[in-house]
Symmetry: C2
Subunit: 457 residues, 2 copies
């Protein structure tokens, strides 16, 4: 039908994307330029890039091709060809998102950065490092540890820096070190038309020009494809300690966390887990120890030995004042890992208990600090009333908390019940001047299990 | 000449602004809507809003009117009328900028927020506060001090929150608490057409949506007029101490600052001043004490009493290792103020020594941490060779430093010499992957002396 105008191009305000024949022309063009292996259209590959068992949201469309660039230059070539043919581009690194950040609602090309996984330059004296998108934060820290420096943003273990930029990722250390917003020095970005820009230069602080770095962080790939990231590094603290404190109620646990923050004790992290979540960790058996199945706070302390000791005593006193029970702490690295692992294993543990046909709905809301105990208490009560397997946990120091609900999406009544519960929770957060990043879910399709960790949690 | 198209409207890619008659129509319209006093066109008022003796940059044009809104709604009305008539809008709060942030290169209306100077809501338990643009950071801290909370960003004493948002202002506490970028929760902004938006909701952390808050911070009013600002607050530290350390050379002082940062000692602030700058402070006589006229570091420590003690000892040891001389410290609030005042008085002191006809050229560059000792050493040498009254100081913990050069702009030879020196310094910073925010100057006109402090320094 040479010369005919495809129907899709006649639409008015709707975006108009490539036709099937244009798509295949673009794929051929990209294979010519980048080599046969640079583009995959195999079913299994498309599915792996458009669906995740782990995500709360999955949509019905998949990408039509997956590109595997090896350099910024190749990403630019991909963008040029795709923009010429009006083909959407979706960046993909760890694929660990709970929120379908890698979804391809209009088909399009998923750009998988797996070959761009290098630490490009570590500058110890400047306390920064430049990496490619598919560097994981854990391998990064392992690779640079001899410098005495580390990158503090610590989401799920499999998350990669590229996706962490795209989702403006926090982590348990955010109370002390901030989120990605506070820890990216500059970005190299390929824009939709293939133009390569650098968002700013390399001093740790700069007020010159618009804050483009901040604009790309959290933009989920919608403004461009990030191909190089310079990150701020910090000195590994002299001493670290972890404490686990139990409480008679979720409210008293949340109230303790608030009073610690409000008193200005410079804790490195504080996380909350409810009784159900602790039970899940016990059942999964991923940690060495058996935990008391009650509302629990996990604290991390860091600094000089005397500061750490002092802060532990202050936090212990505040916990007691709220009726707190056990207060275990340790400065031994192995024991710390064992204590903190209960928090880190939380999502994994939930998944391990999933039966065939189960779905997990994860929610993510944040409220002003003073409202956290309220929203956690009410939401926890509603979760219990659901009669389903549902747990709550959160980065309580930032006013952020998550619910995970296991349910059967093919049972319309159960699905509706869960949906109503989640919507009430989101409405409640919004009434409290809060925000949410997940507020709906769509039916899940059975898929492959590839990445089990979230870049948001 | 009814119906004639003004020449300015025939231009192609150049912006086309209101004609004189349109301007006066707009002013009448605004007076009708907001009251007679809401708009001033008096010469003295125009000059006070378009020229500053203090700024390194002053241009030849002035605003054509000054608007004095009392609410977001009035700002929106001003924007609507001005956008209808193609009149530029320039926000004005403290007017303390060194870099002509309030300049009106195309005439236009300066919007002075002096009547929007209220602390609207302090939420102690959420650790945030909502203020109007013309609230000064010092009066704010004074007003909220009974809550045990404070706002940490501390530029020159007269700076106001509105301008601090516009310039993405740092301050001496940036090493510990970050700059404005890290400390604004949300903004209410009036866009060019009068639309009122809120950049985000009120949790301390959120990854939902584009980071519009970050985009407006540092945009210098070019994207909209900020009318309400919600700021993060912090708990006032239990103990604060200030130390002053002297050094045999500017390089050894800078190297000590770097080694303190690199060792991870959590100092609250570190500032550098050269021998000339210390001499200026002595000459101005603004502080109680006479300072040794040698390169000097000012440190601030905060935290628990034992942590502060420990950090002071660690910093003292690092200073000695670089050949440091005296190391005075004090935890007494009055003595602290006296010690820190030398740094805070630096710019004021320089101005106090200005003779009739003198101009001050201030520069602002930042480089990666490892290059700071290099750039300070070379730049200091060049400043000395100028044979003029010139000093260096900086927020050394962020790789940021400033030069101030006193010269006579009406002497073409002297002017050229200073310009060359500044350009070399800027080129050097850029070669080191650094940035600058001031790289040029224009002849200064004699003007009124209104605000003596910068919102950047």
């Amino acid at each position: 039908m040479k010369g005919a105008v495809p129907v899709s191009q006649q639409a008015g305000s709707q975006p108009v994307f490539a036709t099937r024949s244009e798509l295949s022309k673009a794929v051929d063009q990209l294979r010519d330029q980048l080599g046969e292996d640079a583009i995959s259209t195999e079913d299994e590959d498309l599915r792996r890039h458009g669906y995740s068992e782990w995500s709360s949201i999955n949509i019905d469309t998949l990408p039509v091709a997956v590109a595997y660039p090896k350099s910024t230059e190749e990403v630019s070539q991909i963008a040029k060809v795709c923009s010429q043919h009006r083909i959407p581009l979706i960046p993909y690194s760890g694929g660990t998102s709970l929120e379908a950040n890698f979804s391809a609602p209009f088909g399009g090309v998923s750009v998988d950065f797996c070959f761009m996984d290098k630490v490009l330059q570590l500058r110890e004296d400047d306390m920064d490092v430049t990496v490619q998108p598919a560097v994981g934060w854990m391998p990064l820290n392992d690779q640079i540890k001899d410098s005495g420096l580390f990158f503090p943003v610590d989401p799920g273990p499999s998350a990669m820096i590229g996706g962490m930029v795209g989702t403006s990722c926090p982590g348990t250390n955010a109370v002390r070190y901030g989120t990605m917003k506070e820890n990216v020095v500059n970005l190299t970005v390929v824009l939709a038309d293939g133009t390569v820009i650098k968002t700013r230069r390399r001093p740790r602080k700069s007020a010159a020009g618009y804050n483009l770095t901040g604009l790309f962080i959290g933009s989920e790939g919608t403004l461009g494809l990030v191909t190089e990231i310079t990150l701020k590094l910090y000195v590994i603290p002299q001493e670290t300690s972890v404490a686990v404190a139990t409480f008679p109620s979720i409210r008293s646990a949340a109230a303790t966390a608030m009073s610690v923050i409000r008193s200005g004790i410079p804790i490195a992290a504080v996380e909350i887990m409810d009784d159900v979540q602790i039970g899940i960790v016990n059942k999964a058996g991923g940690t060495k120890r058996r935990w008391q199945e009650v509302p629990t706070l996990f604290f991390k302390f860091s600094g000089s030995p005397s500061a750490v000791k002092e802060h532990i005593q202050q936090v212990k006193a505040l916990s007691k004042r709220q009726g707190g029970g056990d207060f275990d702490f340790t400065s031994d690295a192995e024991e710390q890992k064992a204590l903190w692992s209960a928090r880190k294993e939380a999502l994994w543990s939930m998944l391990a208990l999933k039966r065939e046909g189960d779905d997990v709905w994860s929610t993510d809301v944040a409220v002003p600090l003073s409202r956290l105990a309220d929203i956690i208490e009410v939401s926890k009560k509603e979760l219990d009333e659901l009669g389903l397997f549902a747990s709550a946990l959160g980065h309580v120091g930032d006013g952020n908390f998550h619910e995970s609900i296991m349910y059967n999406s093919r049972d319309p009544k159960e699905r509706q019940m869960v949906e109503d519960c989640v919507h009430r929770m989101v409405d409640r957060a919004l009434e409290m001047e809060g925000t949410c990043t997940v507020s709906f879910s769509t039916p899940q399709r059975p898929g492959t299990s590839n990445d089990l960790h979230s870049s948001r949690h």
